[in-house]
């Protein structure tokens, strides 16, 4: 399988703190890649560099064959970003939010409306499309947040903790959506603090801590490094790699 994303020695420093330190990894086409790590490990900074909004201090990334530092416009045509925050306009309806982001991505008004309707159907919000997002439940807002990321018709989707603080029904709906997207040919980079999510969804997992990538492999491979893959949980793997000390 070809690599759709290849990060090479990616580094970023903020005010004397090495947030990301020589991180290298690849994500294969149509793979769901989990990026795990405790708070402050450097996951979000890595995603910001991969998604072209933060320039790396060192190293580079190729996405779909284009460099994020030199060909960022081409990269942006191929990615969709669902940030950790609810990056949307609560005063507007879900439909208006999606149409706006679609048009900003270059779609015509007609294309954006059509794609917005399809996407809202996909995330189970078609019947509430015209309601202001501020009236939605937390889970519905999370689904709108994901739907917006799909409005640029991306080949690579970044999902940064997309299931924080939502009910099991919404979480399951998001899992199904992610799996369906992968089935349609999309590549997904997924970060989460819920280990069972990563275990269920991800083909491969990278574990980051203190800005460095400290483990990389399929869930079963990582479990085997720690104990019996049949009985070891991903949480045990995670704690084994990152330690038990509290983080900020």
């Amino acid at each position: 399988m070809d690599d759709f994303l290849a990060a090479d020695n990616l580094s970023k420093r903020f005010d004397g703190v090495q947030a990301v330190d020589s991180v290298s990894f690849a994500i294969r086409s149509q793979e769901i890649f989990g990026l795990l790590g405790p708070n402050g490990a450097g996951k979000t900074t890595t995603i910001r560099m991969l998604s072209t909004v933060l320039a790396p201090d060192g190293g580079d990334v190729e996405i779909g064959g284009y460099s994020v530092t030199r060909e960022s416009d081409e990269v942006r045509k191929r990615i969709g970003v669902c940030p950790q925050e609810l990056a949307l306009y609560p005063e507007l309806s879900a439909s208006d939010n999606l149409v706006f982001f679609g048009r900003m991505a270059g779609l015509s008004g007609r294309e954006a409306k059509s794609l917005a309707a399809d996407t809202l159907e996909r995330v189970g919000l078609a019947d509430r499309a015209k309601d202001a997002v501020r009236k939605y439940s937390g889970g519905m807002k999370r689904r709108v947040n994901i739907a917006i990321a799909l409005m640029s018709r991306p080949q690579l989707l970044f999902l940064d903790e997309p299931t924080v603080g939502i009910d099991p029904q919404s979480r399951n709906h998001i899992f199904d959506t992610v799996l369906a997207l992968r089935g349609e040919g999309m590549t997904v980079l997924y970060t989460t603090h819920y280990m069972e999510e990563a275990d269920r969804l991800c083909d491969r997992i990278g574990v980051m801590d203190n800005g460095r990538l400290i483990a990389l492999g399929a869930p079963a491979e990582l479990k085997a490094q720690v104990g019996d893959p049949a009985t070891t949980t991903l949480e045990e793997v995670f704690l084994n790699f990152t330690g038990r000390s509290l983080r900020d």
Binding site: T52, D73, V81, Q84, E85, A87, L88, E91, M104, M151
Partner: protein
């Protein structure tokens, strides 16, 4: 370039959609200024003088009994008091000098105690105009005018007195007769006619442009808070990752501020005309031109502020602080021309000051469009400077 313009317009249209759904924000932008204008126009409506007579202060030294009993200065004062054009207040010479000294009186005309005697004797008398150090020029002009008129009139009587004395002897002088002469109509007289009616003083002609300027800048400054919030919720980063250009975001945000400012103009100016009877003066086009340039400067100010602040909280503080500081400095709360010179000088460092100066010239003093060309140019320079800072400093993500 085409993509940038397209994205800027799409972004600004979205911001306007958000704005029109924000009813408290709309009320703050459009209703609150009218409440302020109504209240302060009412408060300032009593500022103009009810009594339009020329106010004069006159003092007499009381060293000679005939001056108070019916001498020439007494008769002059009585004649002035009878005039419908003047409001003469009599002072004791000592009290008048003290009042000038302590600043409660700008000046007065002083008749010497032996005024009549000196006039009748032909020895010459001196009417003195006493002025405070910082007396306004109009007070000096009025008192000089009074002194000159009295001197001219009494001078003529003095000549008659001298002639009478020379021909018939000093005993023939009759003070009462001279008094009648003083009261007789002069050979050459003048009259004052008021043509038409004087327009009532309308305080809204300066309160409305002042509060319009303040609220246009306030709303533009508050856009910094909205931008900081978008930065915090990662919406701006998402837009960038989605293919939006950084200048498109800045110009889009500025365009949205322009729309909001134009909406404020479209509501507040007509409300001023129909509800507060404001007068655009002889050059309404210039008033519109100044309004538009003021909105442009305010919109650029908003995006500059957004580029300088970090958190939502600091954006709110900066918006409120700058609005409440620049408004009084720039003559939004009172006309700068009545402010002390140091405040007028400070006002020149604010776009508010240049906008209000132009509005005052056009709406209060009958200036033509060409008279505010410098104001328009300075407002354009402010806008360019604000925009340059915004383009240099604008961040899409919170400071890390």
């Amino acid at each position: 370039m085409r993509l940038l313009v397209r994205q800027a317009f799409i972004l600004s249209a979205k911001d306007m959609r958000v704005f029109v759904r924000d009813w408290p924000g709309m009320a703050f932008a459009l209703i609150l200024p009218l409440v302020f204008v109504f209240g302060f126009s009412l408060a300032f409506s009593g500022v103009g003088p009810d009594d339009e007579r020329l106010r004069l202060a006159v003092a007499t030294e009381e060293s000679a009994a005939e001056e108070s009993a019916g001498g020439l200065s007494r008769q002059t004062l009585d004649a002035l008091a009878a005039s419908p054009e003047t409001d003469v207040r009599e002072w004791d010479a000592g009290e008048a000098a003290a009042a000038v000294e302590d600043g409660s009186l700008d000046g007065y005309v002083l008749f010497p105690g032996d005024f009549t005697q000196r006039v009748l004797s032909g020895g010459g008398a001196e009417i003195r105009v006493m002025l405070a150090g910082g007396a306004p020029p109009e007070t000096e002009a009025a008192l000089r005018g009074l002194a000159s008129a009295v001197a001219g009139r009494i001078g003529a009587i003095s000549l008659i007195a001298q002639g009478t004395a020379e021909l018939a002897g000093p005993a023939a002088l009759d003070l009462a007769e001279l008094g009648r002469l003083a009261e007789a109509p002069p050979l050459i007289s003048f009259s004052i006619e008021r043509v038409g009616s004087r327009e009532a003083f309308n305080a809204s002609n300066f309160t409305l442009p002042g509060y319009l300027t303040m609220f246009v800048f306030f709303i533009a400054a508050m856009s910094a808070e909205a931008i900081a919030r978008e930065r915090q919720t990662q919406t701006l980063e998402r837009l960038l990752a989605n293919g939006a250009r950084r200048p498109a975001i800045i110009f889009g945000k500025m365009l949205a501020s322009l729309y909001r400012g134009f909406l404020q103009l479209a509501v507040l100016w007509p409300a001023g005309i129909f509800a507060f009877s404001i007068d655009f003066g002889v050059s309404p086009v210039a008033v519109i031109g100044v309004s538009v340039m003021m909105v442009v400067a305010a919109a650029a100010f908003g995006v500059m502020l957004a580029s300088l602040v970090g958190s939502v909280k600091s954006a709110t503080s900066a918006a409120v602080f700058t609005s409440l500081t620049l408004a009084p400095l720039g003559g939004c709360w009172w006309p700068l021309f009545v402010a002390p010179e140091w405040l007028q000088t400070l006002g020149l460092f604010t776009p508010h000051g240049w906008a209000n100066d132009a509005f005052n010239k056009l709406m209060l003093f009958g200036a033509q469009g060409a008279d505010v060309a410098a104001n328009l140019a300075v407002l354009a320079l402010f806008a360019a400077a604000f925009l340059a800072v915004a383009l240099l400093r604008f961040r899409s993500a919170p400071a890390t």
